[in-house]
Every structure is written in C-alpha cells, then in structure tokens.
C-alpha cells in the first residue's frame, strides 16, 4: 500500500520517538529527519534507522521536499522557530503537525476534534501539550454530557521525562494547556497544574481531572461517557488507563467530578514511565494518519499555500 512520506524536524526525544511510531503506521513513512547539530545522537539514530538527515535545519530539507514527495512534517523544535518552519513548508504544500507550544494553528486532541480539522483541510494543527493530550479527552467526555463551568487538571510527570525546554518555560505550558481545556475541552474556565516528581524508579505519568458541572451530574451518563472516551484514546495510546473514579462529590464550589488517570508509554525510544512524551507522539501520529488516509483516498489534496 502507498504511504504518505513524512519529515521530522527536531532530533530530540520527541523526534526520535516519532520515528518508531511512524514506522509502524500503515499509511505513513518517515523519510527525513532534520536537526541542527551534525553530532547529535538523534540524527545518528535516524540514519541507522534508514532516514535521510540534514543538520542544517529546515533550510536543509526544503530542496528535497518535491523530489522526495514530502507531504507531512512534524515539528518538535521550539515555539520560537516553529512559525518560520511552518511558513516555509506550507509554501511547498506540506502539512504541518506542531508539537511545540507555538499553537499558530488550531488545537487538536484526536478523539475530540481531529475529524473537524481534517474536514477543513487545515495546513497546520497544534498538539497542545502532553498534559493537554492526557486530560482534555476526559474534560470533553464530561462537557459533552453536561455544561462544565470550570475544569482543572493536575499532571504529575517523572523528572527524567521533562526536558530542558519545558523546564525553562513552565508558564507557557500552563497557559497553553489552560487555554486548550476551554477551547477543546469545552469548559468555560480552565486551569492546569504541573508537578515534576524525581522519585526513583521514575513514576508513571499521572493525571487528575476535576470538572465542576453547572447542574447536579448525571452520574451514570458521565461515567459511561468517560469510559467510552478512554477506549477512544486507548486506540492510539494503549497505556491510557483509569485508576480511580469518576468520583462525584459536592464541594463549596459546586458539583465536582474527579477522574484519576495513568499514562504508560509504549517504551519505544523513551521508557514506559514517560507516558507524557508518548501520548504527544502517538496523538501527533494519529493526527497525521487521519490526514494521510484522506489524501490516499483522494478526498483531500494538499496544495501549496499562498502566504502573505
């Protein structure tokens, strides 16, 4: 079967893990890996896995986009360079999956709104943050049953799984995720908390999701909706598991629904405890696959964009 050819930008943990995910895909093929350091371990590994590489950034990739028929690119660099990367590749008709907090395109959580983005043929979609991917499906599972005035999520991450970029810019993570809880999760107000735990052996990623419903919650329907949503996420992240809840209780602030999740990764490049990175790469791959299926079926055709 024909596959859609992809480029990976950024040769760190996320970029490297993406190679494994994309190689397994029936509709995607990793062809290029873009880095900026010729000595980097990520580029060496990519070469050993059969990818072409450049250490000259996106500019090193551009001359090969047409001849190698690259149609989808994943950007796992930083918010600071993403806009420029996206502009250059969109101009050549390459669809951009953004794994940075730049969020210049619409926010995507696959089981919630991927279909919508594919239908609109968006040329740049943003994957929010690991905590966003792990928690927003649950917020949405509640808000699709009853209106949610406030949702709050707590993500606990193993210290070893949190890279220097996230550490130095925790506020960006907080703002991006809080906003997505509202825009994609469907809560009127969102708040995100992150905890970095250094325990050894490293703890598997945990997420707690709290929602305040406007009316007294329909416990049976919300529970069924949450369980159904978990099954949807498990299609691309098998280690997405309900630990406790949903718990329903009355608080001074209103009717609270609490759900306690765990995310174990597949252990491809990053160990299993790093479910946070895995859920990003898996969601990005799932997103690309949806677009790829549409392209292969002839339903959509990517076009070079006129960029003002």
């Amino acid at each position: 079967m024909k596959k859609i050819r992809c480029a990976l930008i950024g040769s760190g943990n996320i970029g490297t893990d993406l190679i494994y995910k994309i190689q397994r895909s029936p509709v995607l093929e990793p062809v290029w890996m873009v880095g900026i350091d010729p000595e980097s371990e990520g580029l060496a590994r990519a070469r050993s896995m059969g990818l072409k590489t450049t250490a000259e950034g996106v500019d090193g990739l551009l001359p090969h986009v047409m001849e190698d028929n690259i149609q989808i690119a994943f950007d796992a660099t930083s918010a600071y360079v993403h806009a420029e990367n996206s502009r250059k590749l969109n101009e050549l008709g390459v669809l951009m999956i953004d794994l940075t907090p730049a969020a210049i395109g619409p926010l995507c959580v696959p089981p919630v709104n991927l279909r919508e983005h594919a239908d609109k043929l968006e040329m740049n979609v943003n994957m929010i943050s690991c905590a966003g991917q792990a928690t927003i499906p649950i917020v949405n599972a509640v808000s699709r049953i009853q209106s949610v005035g406030y949702a709050e999520i707590v993500a606990s991450l193993a210290s070893k799984s949190v890279g220097p970029g996230t550490r130095a810019n925790l506020d960006e993570f907080t703002y991006t995720t809080s906003n997505a809880i509202e825009v994609v999760g469907g809560a009127r107000k969102g708040k995100a908390l992150a905890i970095i735990n250094p325990a050894e052996p490293p703890l598997i990623m945990r997420n707690t999701i709290y929602c305040l419903t406007d009316e007294a919650p329909d416990e049976a329907r919300i529970t069924a909706s949450v369980l159904e949503m978990i099954k949807e996420v498990q299609k691309y992240v098998p280690g997405y598991r309900l630990v406790n809840g949903p718990v329903f209780d009355e608080t001074p602030k209103g009717h609270r629904v609490s759900v306690f999740m765990e995310v174990a990764g597949l252990g491809d490049y990053l160990p299993k405890y790093a479910g946070n990175l895995d859920i990003m790469t898996a969601a990005a791959t799932r997103t690309a696959e949806m677009f790829a299926e549409e392209i292969l079926a002839g339903k959509i055709k990517l076009q070079a964009m006129e960029v003002a």
Binding site: E152, D171, N197, F260
Partner: protein, 350 residues
C-alpha cells in the same frame, strides 16, 4: 551548642502564619483576621510576613482549596497597613505564574519565595529572574530538602543563585530533618554560594524539632528563619516563632522583635483562631516520621473519613510512593486504591 558561640548574631525572622497557616485553617482566614494578625506582628517588629493562599500564587484551585478572597485582596489589605514589615508571597512554578507575581507586586508584595522541589531548581529561572526585574527580595526555596543530599542541595541552590536569588532556603516541608541533617545542608550551601547570598531555613514541627533545627541552621551559617507565631502552619505547624524568639534572646541572638508582644499575639489572637490545636499528634507525627509533605495532613484525614482507611496508613503509603508537594490529588487516589484492596470500595466497571 553554647550561648556564647552565637551571641551577637543577627537573624531575620519571616512569619508564615498568614500563608502556611492558611493550610491549617483549610484556607479559611478572612481579610479582617489577616489584617489583625499582620498589624500585631508588624507592631512586634517582625520584618517579613508571608501573605497568600497556602499554596501561594495560583493556589486557589480544586486541588488546593479555595480561600474566601483572592491573593490580591489579602495582599493589598495587609500591605497598605504595614509600618515596617515587608509582605512576601509564595510562588511554586507549575502552579503560580509570572502574571500572578506581577499582580502580587502591584498589590504591595515586595519579597517572594520561589519554591521548587529540592531536585527541580531548573523549573524556576524565569520566575526568579522576573522577581528580580520587579525589584523584589528574592528567595529560592528548596522544598522537601530531606529528599536530596547536602551536595545535591548545594548544586540546586547554586542554580537558584545563578538565576538571581538573593537567598536560598533549606525547606524541611515534611518536618523530617534532624539538626545534623540541617547543618550538613546549610554548610554545603555556605561552601558554594557567594558570601553575599543569604541562607535560610524553614522548619515544620512534626518531630518537635523546629527550634533545635533552626538553631542548628544558624550555627551552620543561616541568617533567615521562617516560623509562625503560635506555630499556625501545616502539619504540626511551623517553628513556633515566639518560642524561637525567646530561645534566641536567651542565646544572645539578635532578632529585633519584641518577645512579649509576640507572645501576646500568639495567645490573644492566633490561638483563638485555630480550628484545631496545631500540635504534634498521631497524624502530624506520622508526617515527620515518614517524611511526608505537611500539607497532606488535613487532606488525608478527610480521605480517611470518606473511604474508611486510617489516615496514618494513607500517609505512610504516600511516603512510600514518594509523593511530593503539590500532589494532593494523589491522596484521594491512594485512599481509593487502598479502600479497593481492603474490599471497602467497588471498582467502576470498565
């Protein structure tokens, strides 16, 4: 420890009862109560008072509880009435943000504890730099310091100094440390930090060691000491400030505070505010013994009541699982998992 060895040393006291004490009051202190306490402490000469939600900036949440007023309301009300005391705030990156720090500054806060877990100092550079840009007295606050060894604490403290912190704290959030542990960590910091960088100690009284640990910190070179009048704080409370001030006076350590005024504030204002006597009891002693974050105390008692698992069992399990400050959600989670194992709770059918 002889009186003469520390005679003449100057120590800067920092009161926590309007921040750490919020935990002991389930975040329910009114603006009027805050003003009353702060005015008394200002009058007694306490140079720094911390005033916010117990979890600091961004603390109002389902995870940490909602106070009846915003941080801005508390800070403005207190700061506008202080004659000499500076108002400080707590900022834990991942919970609080720079926007909230700016807002606290605008309301009159002039000092900040930027707090991270004792191994995660590198989550604080933007917040420390921003506090310095605002011109605030800036502290890097290494929480749960018993979970990192002296060399590790020194390394983390050095990072915070590099980001711009004026002061680095050894923070015994679990009230677990013994005087030798405190001394080793303060000494390790003193060896690597610039001479002008101050060192502080923040104790909890879960093993009854708050005062002894604070004195040990001073012996090793600390100059700032956190405590709270009448010990109003999480767990068995902070180092009781009026008791500490009395010990300092006996030892000839200069705190600059009026001891009798502090004693009066403790007895006449703060003790009557307490919902429960803040003291070493079975559960708070468990925190200190097992090395668990002091704020977990009341949450664990509530989870115990609801799911029928004793609070002490929950606390010991949280210690075993190495849960750290901010993971209050894991208390209910752990209690539910334990209740299932004990046949007290049913699994949701998947």
């Amino acid at each position: 420890m002889s009186a003469s060895s520390l005679k003449g040393r100057k120590v800067i006291l920092h009161d926590m009862c309007l921040r750490d004490g919020m935990h002991a009051k389930r975040e329910q202190i009114s603006v009027d109560q805050m003003v009353k306490v702060a005015t008394a402490l200002d009058g007694a000469g306490v140079p720094y008072l911390q005033v916010t939600h117990g979890a600091g900036m961004g603390g109002n949440s389902l995870q940490h509880g909602f106070a009846p007023h915003s941080n801005e309301e508390y800070i403005s009300a207190v700061a506008s009435r202080m004659k000499q005391a500076k108002v400080s705030v707590l900022l834990i990156p991942g919970l609080g943000t720079m926007r909230e720090l700016q807002s606290a500054y605008d309301c009159g806060a002039r000092s900040v504890h930027v707090a991270t877990h004792c191994t995660e100092a590198d989550t604080s550079p933007q917040h420390i730099a921003f506090a310095r840009k605002l011109g605030m007295d800036t502290t890097g606050f290494l929480m749960m310091a018993h979970l990192n060894d002296p060399a590790g604490i020194a390394k983390q403290g050095k990072l915070m100094e590099d980001y711009g912190a004026h002061t680095v704290y050894v923070t015994d959030s679990a009230g677990y440390m013994l005087p030798e542990d405190v001394k080793a960590r303060v000494q390790a910091l003193r060896d690597v930090l610039k001479p002008e960088t101050e060192i502080g100690f923040h104790g909890h009284h879960n093993l009854g060691m708050g005062i002894a640990n604070s004195i040990a910190a001073i012996e090793a070179g600390a100059i700032r000491i956190d405590g709270s009048v009448a010990g109003l704080g999480a767990g068995a409370g902070n180092t009781p400030l009026e008791v500490f001030a009395a010990v300092c006076e006996r030892m000839g350590i200069d705190t600059g505070v009026d001891l009798f005024k502090l004693m009066d504030a403790a007895e006449d204002i703060i003790v009557p505010m307490m919902d429960h006597m803040v003291r070493v009891d079975r559960e708070s002693l468990t925190l200190g013994f097992a090395g668990v974050y002091s704020t977990f105390l009341l949450h664990s008692k509530r989870a115990a009541e609801r799911f029928g698992v004793p609070a002490r069992d929950i606390l010991v399990e949280l210690g075993r699982k190495k849960m750290i400050g901010g993971q209050e959600d894991m208390i209910m989670d752990t209690a539910m998992t334990m209740a299932k194992e004990r046949g007290l709770l049913k699994e949701v059918a998947a």
